[in-house]
């Protein structure tokens, strides 16, 4: 629970894509704005399907959006 080991750069990617809003991204991938907010904050690790949907929106491979780090 809490901060996940999976981090992402969705916020900056949104900014670089014509300052896309959280709501616009949420509509494109089929979730609520609250979920995009939680993912950006690191409070929720999305399902593999949602991660792929986000990657498709930005037209980038998954590993350029999400990164995984092992912590002790």
């Amino acid at each position: 629970m809490g901060k996940s080991l999976i981090s992402n750069n969705i916020r900056s990617l949104r900014f670089n894509h014509d300052e896309m809003t959280q709501q616009q991204l949420a509509d494109k991938v089929g979730v609520t704005r609250q979920t995009i907010f939680a993912i950006e904050k690191g409070n929720y690790s999305p399902s593999l399907e949602l991660a792929f949907r986000i990657a498709l929106v930005f037209n980038l491979p998954l590993e350029e959006i999400f990164s995984f780090e092992l912590k002790d």
């Binding site: 089929g30 979730v31 704005r33 609250q34 979920t35």
Partner: protein, 148 residues
């Protein structure tokens, strides 16, 4: 604060208020002798059934009012569907809620085994139902706030 957090806080307050007001009303009627049933099982059976019906109706009305106020104050439409995060949080909070209810249920049944009057069993039973619902909502608020 998100829509889901606000909605759960409103539900939490309304659940407690409905239970409190309904209990006070029934016990007032009971003291005045409006209930003629001498059968303890019949009395508590009707208490629980009416509480469930009143709670469902009141929650529907409160939810509609809440959505109207939410739209007016935030100029935002409430989410029309539950996505994967909503479902995950719902499943987790329901699990916690079930554990709480099971503890209350076992306690209520256990009281019967040690010859405690049946009305105590019903009170414990009703409280475990209300507390488990309260715990579900608090868990949802916590998980929306802290993450899963």
């Amino acid at each position: 604060m998100s829509y889901q957090e606000k909605k759960n806080i409103v539900s939490l307050i309304s659940t407690l208020l409905i239970f409190l007001l309904y209990s006070m009303y029934v016990f007032q009627m009971y003291k005045e002798g409006s209930f003629h049933s001498t059968d303890v099982f019949s009395f508590w059976g009707s208490f629980i059934i009416i509480l469930i019906v009143v709670s469902i109706l009141a929650k529907i009305i409160i939810n509609i009012i809440f959505n109207i106020i939410y739209r007016i104050t935030t100029h935002e439409k409430e989410p029309s569907f539950s996505d994967e995060l909503d479902k995950l949080i719902h499943f987790k909070s329901i699990t916690v809620s079930h554990y709480v209810f099971v503890v209350g249920f076992v306690l209520a049944i256990g009281l019967l085994a040690i010859d405690v009057p049946p009305y105590i069993m019903f009170i414990v039973f009703i409280f475990s139902g209300v507390i488990s619902d309260v715990v579900r909502m608090i868990t949802e608020i916590y998980l929306y706030r802290k993450g899963v």
